[in-house]
């Protein structure tokens, strides 16, 4: 038995997981229309590489990664792209994003799939393969997995000793990872071995909360079958035990320092669904085009579905048959999920669960009361923060102080809001503060860049002025050096009137210009065959004739 550790705080919301695990996962039918957003991952949106009217195959690349932190987007099934435009997506703002609309042809025809043997490939190649297969963290953060598999920047030779598979799934209602572990355990274990070899880890721990005995049993069986020395560890069920930092703490006793990454302490953590998708991408050549999603809550048929990315949520909800008193939908869990602006938005890579809500299941929160500084939030905070102080600074917009109280270590788990006796929406305040601070930092960076550019411009103008002055001075000097022959000319006419000399100068300049003009010959006629030259000469002669006639015609009337 492995010694487990505890993290501070945590809450025990009712699990509500059994409803959706009664039936095995079903494959959701291909909908009549798929809407695939180009930004389904953290970082830059993918760049469309298809055009409206193109016929695409299942798994064909439709958006290529743009930028370092980015990932690829693929067609979830075969069909025709009918639009690439802004469509509403599952984002807390309700703002539209660039999406491709795909009308399936019903054949679900795969693009050519190239299975790869990961043992025969260098880690670099595998990372590129994962990037181009659109593999991102399916636990909710949707961070591109290839970046998490890079060697450490500061210590490129340091191994990441421990690889943790996150199967904790601590949020209530959600069971998609549970079902995936029950049904696809062998492939998760193979994927884990692949990631382990890429990272060079010595130890692989699979953390699963003890409210999922079937998943634990399935994973243990798969590990035993594979003969790999992985450890499946049952961790106590406590929210938010599935947050990466908290799970690392429970399994290893190590704490990820503030502002650092798990890799800095030699640990890397992947969600089980991510590991499964990575395995499918490498061993089967299948990019991430579908995922497990739980449809539960106020529905007649709570169940898990393997659904295509881009499936409109209306279609998924219809499969669950919502009850008539349903009054809203949540994407994600009830603790960290977000209310959906509309159900026409598509399923994205981050979409692990759709919960239908009703007044009975999720009664509206009671009215908010003032903070009484009872510190229950601080007792519940898994990140060891003092939410009551963060709340105080956030609501008075004292952002500097909020940052000094480690606001950015907040994982927005909602445990503080859950226990608050005054029902203060604490997490909303923290999100508000965080986004304000981030925006200010961005503005500051932009201002610094503008200052730099402005200063460089001033410097450049000054330099150009100086260079021009220098050039002029040099020219004058050269002219003065070349002049000596000239003064005698003036000296021969010492008694000439000043206007006379000026006249002469002008005359000389005109002569000089004429000479120069005569000296310059059009260069483009140099390498021409003789017949063309003759033609040109003829044209020139005609022009001269016309000039002559024009002079004789026009000049007399003038005089």
């Amino acid at each position: 038995m492995r010694t487990l550790f505890k993290f501070h705080g945590g809450v025990h919301p009712p699990g509500n997981k059994t409803q959706s695990t009664q039936q095995p996962t079903a494959t959701a039918p291909i909908p009549a229309k798929l809407i695939v957003p180009f930004r389904q991952h953290a970082g830059e949106a993918a760049k469309p590489v298809v055009q409206v009217g193109d016929h695409v195959l299942k798994g064909q690349l439709i958006g290529e990664p743009a930028g370092f932190i980015s990932s690829a987007i693929h067609a979830p099934t075969s069909g025709t792209i009918t639009a690439i435009d802004m469509q509403p997506v599952a984002h807390p703002s309700g703002l539209p994003e660039l999406c491709a609309t795909l009308i399936p042809d019903g054949r679900d025809e795969w693009v050519e799939r190239k299975p790869t043997d990961y043992r025969a490939q260098p880690a670099d190649e595998l990372r590129h393969l994962l990037r181009m297969a659109g593999i991102v963290g399916l636990g909710g953060a949707v961070f591109p997995s290839d970046i998490k598999l890079r060697p450490l920047r500061d210590h490129p030779n340091k191994d990441i000793g421990t690889l943790i598979l996150n199967g904790a799934e601590c949020e209530p209602w959600i069971t998609c990872d549970d079902m995936l572990m029950r049904e696809r355990a062998a492939e998760i274990v193979q994927g884990a071995e692949m990631l382990r070899s890429m990272l060079g880890s010595r130890e692989v721990l699979i953390g699963i909360e003890d409210n999922k005995p079937e998943a634990i049993a399935a994973m243990r069986l798969a590990v035993a079958d594979s003969g790999l020395p992985f450890k499946v560890v049952a961790v106590p069920t406590i929210y938010p035990g599935g947050s990466a930092k908290q799970l690392i703490r429970v399994l290893t006793g190590l704490e990820v320092p503030s502002g650092k990454l798990p890799t800095d302490i030699g640990v890397q953590c992947f969600n089980v669904a991510t590991v499964y998708s990575a395995w499918r991408a490498v061993a089967h050549g299948e990019p991430l085009v579908s995922r497990f999603v739980t449809v539960t809550g106020n529905v007649r048929q709570p169940r898990n579905y393997e659904a295509l990315i881009g499936t409109p949520l209306t279609d998924l909800i219809a499969l669950g048959e919502p009850l008539p008193d349903t009054d809203g939908y949540i994407m994600g869990g009830p603790m960290m999920g977000m209310p959906l602006p509309s159900t026409s938005v598509p399923l994205v890579k981050a979409g692990n669960c759709i919960i239908a809500g009703s007044k009975k299941l999720f009664p509206p929160p009671p009215p908010t009361l003032p903070c009484i500084r009872c510190t229950r939030c601080a007792q519940a905070c898994p990140a060891d923060l003092q939410p009551m102080d963060l709340y105080w600074f956030s609501q008075s917009k004292n952002f500097g102080q909020a940052q000094a109280f480690s606001l950015f270590d907040c994982i927005e788990c909602g445990a503080c809001s859950y226990v608050c006796p005054s029902h203060i929406p604490l997490v909303q305040y923290f999100r508000f503060s965080k986004s304000e601070i981030r925006m200010r930092e961005q503005d500051k960076l932009a201002a610094d860049r503008a200052r730099e550019r402005h200063e460089y411009r001033e410097f450049r103008i000054e330099r150009e002025k100086q260079e021009k002055a220098e050039r002029l001075a040099a020219k004058e000097k050269a002219a003065a050096a070349a002049k000596p022959a000239e003064p005698p000319v003036v000296a021969t006419n010492p008694d000439a009137a000043p206007e006379n000399t000026a006249q002469m100068k002008i005359q000389a300049a005109i002569e000089h210009a004429k000479e120069q003009a005569a000296a310059i010959k059009p260069k483009n006629t140099e390498n021409l065959p003789p017949e063309l030259l003759a033609e040109i000469a003829e044209i020139e002669a005609r022009r001269a004739r016309i000039r002559e006639t024009a002079k004789s015609d026009v000049e007399p009337p003038k005089e």
């Binding site: 807390p92 703002s93 908010t368 003032p370 304000e436 925006m439 201002a447 503008a450 402005h454 460089y456």
Partner: protein, 201 residues
């Protein structure tokens, strides 16, 4: 007596030398306060304050020539920051100097004649182009100062407001109703004996 005098003057000379050396070695060029003020300004270099750029405005603020409420792109928050730094009262914007929503310039490429006048006007070199070549704005570097609009002889530059999108969207300040406590204490029929005794007659 003499030794005391010598010691004291030796100390004085030594300290003087240290002070003199540090005055040269650690000399601060310019006014450090102006740097701090400049750091608070938004660096749009737009000249809306009446000075040719953010740095001259910062210098003018420090010398007491200019007010702190002349920078519309900095917003009210900018004024507040300047007031905090300089220890003066907050001052609202004057009439007609309210901040505008953030915008970037846009060149209508069908109309542009490639005259390079806007290139010369741009304070942050955010316009790309050459004589008789198409000009275009580098949107990510444009500060929205509008200085390129006036010199354009064909009026092909317009300001495009940057609307809210997923990238610049911010979580809003939570607004919720506080629980209204029914006015039990003041209504005569529900007055409890304790409150009655405390209420002045």
């Amino acid at each position: 007596m003499l030794s005391a005098l010598l010691v004291m003057s030796a100390i004085a000379i030594a300290l003087g030398a240290v002070l003199g050396y540090s005055a040269i070695k650690f000399r601060v060029e310019g006014n450090p306060l102006a740097d701090k003020v400049d750091a608070l300004l938004p660096q749009t270099q737009c000249g809306q304050c009446g000075y040719p750029g953010c740095r001259p405005y910062a210098d003018a603020i420090v010398s007491g020539e200019a007010d702190i409420n002349l920078c519309p792109p900095g917003g009210e928050e900018g004024i507040q920051k300047l007031a905090d730094l300089l220890g003066v009262e907050f001052k609202p914007f004057g009439a007609g100097a309210e901040p505008k929503p953030k915008a970037v310039a846009f060149i209508d490429e069908n109309t542009c004649i490639g005259c390079t006048l806007c290139l010369q006007a741009c304070p942050v070199d955010a316009i790309m182009g050459a004589a008789k070549q198409m000009h275009t704005i580098i949107a990510s570097e444009c500060t929205g100062c509008e200085l390129c609009i006036a010199p354009c002889p064909v009026d092909c530059i317009s300001m495009v407001t940057i609307g809210e999108n997923v990238e610049n969207w911010k979580w809003k300040y939570p607004v919720y109703a506080l629980k209204s406590v029914p006015p039990k204490i003041t209504s005569p029929e529900t007055k409890s004996p304790e409150t009655k005794s405390r209420t002045p007659a």
